[in-house]
Symmetry: D2
Subunit: 340 residues, 4 copies
């Protein structure tokens, strides 16, 4: 069993079928095809408001291009120190933003707390031309430590953003897992809370390669599309991005896949705890961060279980990630399996 | 029949099968999987020399990221005025190059001539810090007007580059069509002629979305991979890029697809000439640029033939592009079809 | 006599006096001082309309920072091929613009003609996200070949810009020489003709180092000041920039210096023609571009006259530039001098 | 008395005389003049090793352009959280570096400690293409809190840099004050300790506007000069930068000015302590950071003493800066003056 990441899983059957079906005929390039033209409508229905959809092939592209419309080359993006955009996306935010700086905050379990954010923004003294002034706040849902902002927490952050005239961006590489965990409507944690732009991940949750930039402010479309093209992210066979996304949201596939992964993760946590592991953070989505001793780690590895050490949490910390195809039965019987 | 571009065609069966086959199991992300690890070897064999392969999902990304290792933020890339990088890739070269400027040359049928290039480079007076000095030459094979540089022409350009200490880049979005047309070895028009970096297109010739940056100077790998990641082009499910590329070069699929498209294009030219059209340039690859009168254009359109006007050549000019799946029989009988 | 450029001349007495006077007391930094605070008013009076003034120390900085507020990272600046921003300012426009591309036009004596501009802009087919669309036009007054746009010519260009929704920028490194030559009001060739931003040169015309970015659209101030600071061009002792500029516009010093230089240039042209030289372009400001044979060039050099060859005009072409302190009497008697 | 900053002081007499003297004749532009040509020699003598000198007009430009040669667009610069480049230079480091990121460290009195730096660099796990890897360390001498790194401290930092293969940059906006305070040779805290590039400040210490980028690795010259030109910082009347710098280092003017300012600061500290203030940090250069109560602050202000609150240290914290022309006698008698 491979828990090293959800991106080790292959394409799920429904999306693979959509790719195969798309391969039977010709279609116009660069988003002029029928399927691409359906995206705005499909996602506007999903979110219950008018949105503009700009698909790209990677989560990093979705974050970088999505953010680039919300902040100036002279401005800052406030994020958690552990944010993916701060830790794992090279100097991409400055690249696509033309200089834009990341301003890191602390907070428990990789979450920004509204009060901390408010204090930070209140304490910031704009220093004329000299300082980098915050212009945007970016949060990750689910967070980099596998936790999930509650609906209230996101609304509180949205209020602080409104108070300080900040734009609000959400890195939703695992957005589906958050919605599944919260059992909320996708609007509850996005535009209703003030989110301006969402990167809506599909790649980790069953797609080949597509994440959608969801613009709750359709005025951002032109900049975002220009930025996408200029970055080399406009697909000629754009319809394959659209086909993946339409299959992903049809019949709640995105939520079904996420629920499966979340359930597998909770089951895995129970199995690991039974073996002596302890959760580093409450498991809420499909990622587990645990502490365990060397013996247990070795036993698991010897049984062919794959997972990764996570040094930023501690020397005895590890990450396990479940996916749309994680084998729940085997996970439930993990104790037996490794005893096997 | 849709001749508006080769990118309207779907994935070819062999590559689709590879994507389906890849979807049966888990694999490491970001290029650590087995298939990605085979790319350097596969392409080193193909080119008969050691190369480093950096796959991306679009031709624009391949060009922009591939070029970025060959030129400084203060330098210029000499290209034809009609070059795709100059006309159709937004401000991407300056973006990935950190300021890099395009310096356009004229030349027949979208080709740079070696003598013109030599004159230009000889006449350029470096003006200390003030001027943008040429550092790299970029050519497109097949060209933007569907013509093909001969082996000798490319060697002549390579010699001029060597004389003036220029790096040499080749935009090979339709590289397969050129090799098929020239019946040469791929090395004959690349590293043996001094090409440093090639963008090796697959998307237009049967893939879903993958073009490979081929580095004939493996020292460029680190910069190129850094630039790819920073641009948001490093796929987590990198293995799907690798699977497409491996299928593409297996059993000469890339050349078989290209030969089919080239043959279809020559056949189409004959059919169009029989109807009164005239070639704007000698058709050498899979693209045709023709002149025809309004009546013929209308007749074709009424028969459901799709093609695009091409204003940069003239008010009566049009482009037709054939692909790996163009229906040669129907094309041969075009006269009958439209008479239909 | 040194005619190699007007920038070889030292500071003129009035401006030097202002620098000396400024050195007797303390003053607030970064533009908060009294003199800096007077700039907007002084230049608003000079131009007869409300302007915002952002001083920098070089003409290149004035051009690059001034342009950066008028064009997006994805857009183009239409200019003459021979424009200083295209030929002599490295990749600065792309740097400060975040990718912005220069689109070069031809035209006689380094002038863009309104009809040519109109044709170019009309013929440009916006190609969706792919193309670089013109967003701004930049002209140089006086031009790079020493000629001067007439009031009508600039109004015609302004009308074309308005028609095509372009912003209009003027590189006025030698703006004073143009106003002196035209005997017009400075407003006649700027905001009344639709100019949005002017780089108002002082360095070549008697200052130590200061060119002012004049914003006829004061909304551009914030972006321009941010760009100036970020580029490292905000002086702590900003008052010395202000002191130079205030002295420069007081009692028409800028025009008196320019008139002197223009008169010297016309006189020099007469003296050179008497010796057998021919004007390459009608001398209108303080720069002469001439053709002469090798014998005359040698004779002048042997007499200690300094000037520069100008290869872009021809192998027998040379540039002579007069300045605020050019010795008109000696120039008038050039024939005697070199005979001497 | 104005202690709000050293940059409120005017040009010192020796440098003003040099500017006046330079204004008597013509000279070649862009650094080809005699004085500019003397800079490398003068500073090589000053530092006792071969250096290349690239003058610019502001300290921010010196930092940004100087750093740009030491780090890639994908890399990080380790600095103190309070570093000027991090707090007060907008997004300039990313701008000139093409994306370069600042990585902030803590440390007492705005100093990076060698042990902290070593821990940070040792703990950094390069994460393939994903992470921003440190490539350069930047320290400020004297620091942003007016303290001075000892010779040993800088050598210790240099050793850590060497161990981890980092380049070392020094922001020397107040370098003269540090050398004066340490009574060391300028080489002792620069190249002998491994510093690659120094921004050598003159503006705050008596010049009109010039800071010199000192390259201890002359191979950096080409990149640095290209970066300077492209940023708009190459002066046409470059000789005025050179004249200021030559006067500044002649007969130890730079040290005499700095010693005066340092002495004034120590005297001021004594006077302020006598009035009830307390030093926030040991005063070592020409900047004081103090705590005092509101009554004392009011008394001083009422007496016409100008100084600035410094919120980052505390609500009762203030900064006082002395300069080359601070009136030492009045400062000594501050108690009497305000009693006055």
């Amino acid at each position: 069993m491979n828990f090293s990441s959800d991106n080790v899983s292959p394409i799920c059957p429904e999306i693979l079928s959509a790719i195969v079906a798309e391969s039977e005929s010709a279609a116009l390039p660069y988003g002029a095809d029928d399927k691409s033209q359906q995206l705005d409508t499909a996602f506007s229905e999903l979110f219950g408001t008018e949105v503009a959809v700009v698909p790209v092939a990677t989560g990093t592209a979705a974050n970088l291009i999505g953010l680039s419309g919300l902040v100036s080359p002279f401005g800052g993006v406030v994020c958690h120190h552990h944010a993916h955009i701060n830790m794992t996306e090279s100097t991409g935010v400055a690249f696509y933003g033309g200089g834009t700086k990341l301003l890191g905050l602390d907070g428990p379990s990789a979450k920004i707390e509204a009060a901390t954010l408010d204090s930070f923004l209140t304490a910031h003294s704009p220093n004329g031309m000299h300082s980098v002034d915050p212009e945007c706040v970016a949060i990750t849902q689910t967070t980099e430590f596998g936790t999930v902002y509650t609906v209230d927490e996101i609304h509180a952050i949205g209020s602080v953003c409104q108070k300080h005239d900040m734009r609000l961006f959400m890195d939703g590489a695992r957005f589906a897992n958050a919605v599944a965990a919260l059992e909320c409507h996708p609007s509850d944690i996005t535009w209703k809370a003030g989110v301006d732009v969402l990167s809506f991940g599909a790649t980790k949750n069953g797609a080949l390669a597509v994440d959608a930039i969801i613009l709750f402010d359709p005025e951002l479309r032109r900049h975002t599309e220009k930025s996408r093209k200029r970055g080399g992210h406009l697909f000629s066979k754009h319809r394959y991005l659209a086909a993946q996304l339409l299959a992903y949201v049809q019949d709640d596939l995105w939520l079904r896949n996420a629920r499966h992964a979340n359930t597998a993760a909770i089951t895995l946590m129970q199995s690991l705890e039974a073996l002596g592991a302890k959760a580093a953070f409450p498991p809420q989505g499909n990622e587990l961060f645990i502490h365990m001793n060397d013996d247990l780690a070795k036993t698991l590895r010897d049984a062919g279980i794959i997972f990764r050490p996570w040094a930023s949490i501690g020397p005895d910390a590890y990450r396990f990630v479940c996916a749309w195809n994680s084998p729940t039965d085997l996970i439930r019987d993990l104790g037996k399996t490794i005893a096997g």
